[in-house]
């Protein structure tokens, strides 16, 4: 019989971590992530999670501890939000550059200033170029399943994975979640076997200064330079495209739940009006699409699950699109929303020339209802029907200065 519990997103994440049996956990509490670190310390105290729980004085230290631990070849976990993630920024690069398969939950929250504890995705989106894989979840079931998949992905391509989900909206909302069977998780995710690790018996220097040119090591072997190492990081993320898809399909076979690989779709087969986004807003968009369908509009949703690596398969799904509306909870100041930029770039030269309307929504936790999404799509459709094919950015439910 399946074990279904009605739990918050944070509890789903903490249970997933327990099932993955990491040996070292280090986290610093920050709203709305705090419950994960509290639960994990409780599990360690109770003995249901046999891990070393390292209490740290900051997020920078939390990730530093994991970098050290992961370098010795163990499975690790941390979680944070917002300014906590920003405080980790330097170590994010360090973890990815060192090719350490660390898994972290980012419980998405707006960043200061002005101060906000509420949800948007500016925190993780602003860490786009750190070399981490970023996966976004649309409900609590997807959170528990994605955290488990994240370890499998990270340990196969040696790239750290950030599992992102919306603060409060998912982290604090309870919903039914099927808890995967622990034995089956062990079969899906065997114990971590690092290809290289640091141990006291074989002392080595890892990540010394690299010069712009390639150099011979002490044994006379010509080694890769900085540029080759960074190229390999990109190769790791390129490989991750297939690995994420396989991790997802294998998971679906074992556990009966398929959340999609790099992206998921909702009623897109004959759709010419495409709504897209990441996380809970994409789930909300499926309701808007259903309502449009009831009116005879051929609407569908493409939910982007993996932001990095960015899915290369989107143009094929969007080939019949007359209009693309992107809902996003972040902004690249001075330009437009980050998902929109990437989506437009991926369509370049593919023959898909539908206008892309960039709808910025829900910043700092501003409520976004299905009706709001519906209104934005209707507005975009009206423009298109009047012959206006311009791409534009719209700030939804935001007072404009006179």
């Amino acid at each position: 019989m399946s074990d279904v519990r009605i739990i918050t997103g944070n509890e789903a994440a903490a249970l997933a971590v327990t099932l993955c049996e990491p040996q070292v956990v280090a986290a610093y509490p920050i709203t709305p992530q705090t419950k994960i670190s509290e639960l994990l310390s409780e599990y360690v105290e109770r003995g249901t999670l046999k891990a070393e729980y390292v209490r740290v004085e900051s997020e920078h230290s939390a990730l530093s501890v994991l970098i050290a631990a992961s370098t010795t070849g163990v499975r690790t976990f941390t979680a944070t939000s917002s300014n906590g993630l920003l405080y980790m920024h330097e170590q994010l690069h360090w973890a990815a550059g060192s090719r350490l398969p660390i898994v972290m939950c980012c419980v998405n929250r707006g960043v200061a200033a002005p101060w906000s504890i509420f949800n948007d995705q500016q925190d993780s989106m602003s860490q786009r170029d750190t070399g981490w894989i970023q996966l976004y979840c649309r409900n609590n079931q997807e959170i528990i399943d994605t955290v488990i998949q994240a370890y499998r992905i990270a340990e196969e391509v040696y790239v750290p994975v950030m599992v992102c989900y919306d603060g409060f909206i998912l982290s604090h909302t309870m919903m039914p979640v099927e808890i995967p069977d622990a034995a089956e998780v062990r079969r899906y995710l065997p114990p971590y076997k690092p290809h290289t690790f640091l141990e006291p018996e074989r002392p080595r220097t890892i990540n010394p200064v690299f010069f712009p040119w390639r150099r011979q090591n002490a044994d006379g072997v010509l080694c890769d330079g900085y540029m080759e190492m960074r190229r390999k990081l990109q190769k790791g993320l390129e490989k991750a495209r297939d690995v994420i898809a396989v991790a997802s399909s294998d998971y679906a076979e074992r556990f009966g739940r398929d959340h999609g690989g790099l992206f998921w779709t909702h009623r897109v087969e004959d759709a010419d009006i495409i709504l897209t986004g990441m996380g809970s807003i994409a789930a909300e968009a499926t309701l808007a699409a259903d309502l449009l369908r009831n009116e005879g509009v051929r609407a569908g949703v493409v939910g982007i699950r993996s932001y990095r690596p960015f899915p290369p398969g989107l143009p094929a799904v969007l080939r019949n699109a007359r209009l693309i509306v992107v809902f996003e909870k972040c902004f690249s100041y001075g330009y437009e929303g980050g998902v929109t930029s990437d989506l437009k770039a991926s369509l370049y030269g593919t023959g898909v020339d539908a206008p892309v309307i960039d709808v910025i929504a829900g910043l700092g936790g501003r409520d976004v209802k299905t009706a709001d999404l519906l209104g934005a799509v209707r507005e975009a459709m009206k423009s298109l029907e009047s012959g206006d094919r311009a791409c534009r950015t719209v700030w939804l439910n935001c007072r404009e200065e006179e």
Binding site: I117, I169, M174, M175, D290, N294, V368
Partner: protein
């Protein structure tokens, strides 16, 4: 065999039915420390155990302070829930502290024709909402019931669980048996038993106001 006109009419209706007919939204008003969130969680458990596949229970998003007004919300649906936005117009509003009427616009969150349940020793006629004439109103002295069953925390009566009994009385989609099982999921057996006795008493003691508008 229905004609084409029948299908033309049915298609949009079906959409509207799916939208407004199946998902039920319950908004809880209380104060920090009154167990508003727990009541919402027990309701979600009860509904799930009764076969609803989609349930969510959410607290007010943000920091919570003891004694400050706060809300929790429960959504119940036949299908898994895909909306996580704030409830605009609830089908049912439950108020744990009647003094909140003085500081919070309770009526603003209730749809006309919905159900309003108030923890109060006063009869439900005192809580009629002028702008929601079709709403059904009920009241129950949950504090007295809590004291009767010695449900107190720091001397204050625990009014959250008794109100679930009032809900079952007013709304036939949730049964006393469902609430009993929901309570068993959320608390140790002795507490669950005690709380359930209070739920049953509230079910009996709830005073239902004007019932001219039975449809919900």
């Amino acid at each position: 065999m229905p004609g084409a006109f029948y299908w033309v009419c049915l298609v949009p209706l079906r959409g509207m039915y799916r939208w407004s007919g199946i998902m039920h939204e319950i908004l809880w008003h209380g104060r920090g420390g009154q167990g508003v969130v727990l009541a919402s969680e027990v309701l979600a458990e009860a509904a799930y155990l009764q076969g609803y596949r989609g349930v969510t229970s959410a607290p007010t998003f943000g920091p919570e302070r003891r004694g400050a007004p706060l809300t929790a919300s429960t959504r119940i649906d036949d299908e898994p829930i895909r909306t996580f936005s704030q409830i605009a117009l609830a089908d049912i509003v439950i108020v744990l502290d009647e003094l909140l009427f003085g500081s919070v616009d309770i009526g603003a969150g209730l749809r006309n024709g919905g159900i309003l349940i108030v923890n109060s020793a006063r009869p439900p006629e005192n809580f009629r909402l002028p702008d929601k004439p079709a709403a059904r109103t009920a009241s129950v002295d949950a504090a007295a019931i809590a004291r009767e069953f010695r449900l107190t925390v720091g001397g204050a009566p625990v009014v959250n669980t008794p109100l679930l009994g009032s809900l079952a009385r007013l709304w036939d989609r949730i049964s006393l048996a469902g609430i009993e099982r929901g309570l068993a999921f959320k608390m140790p057996p002795a507490s669950a038993y005690n709380n359930y006795q209070a739920v049953r008493r509230a079910f009996e003691m709830t005073v239902v106001g004007d019932t001219r508008h039975e449809q919900t």
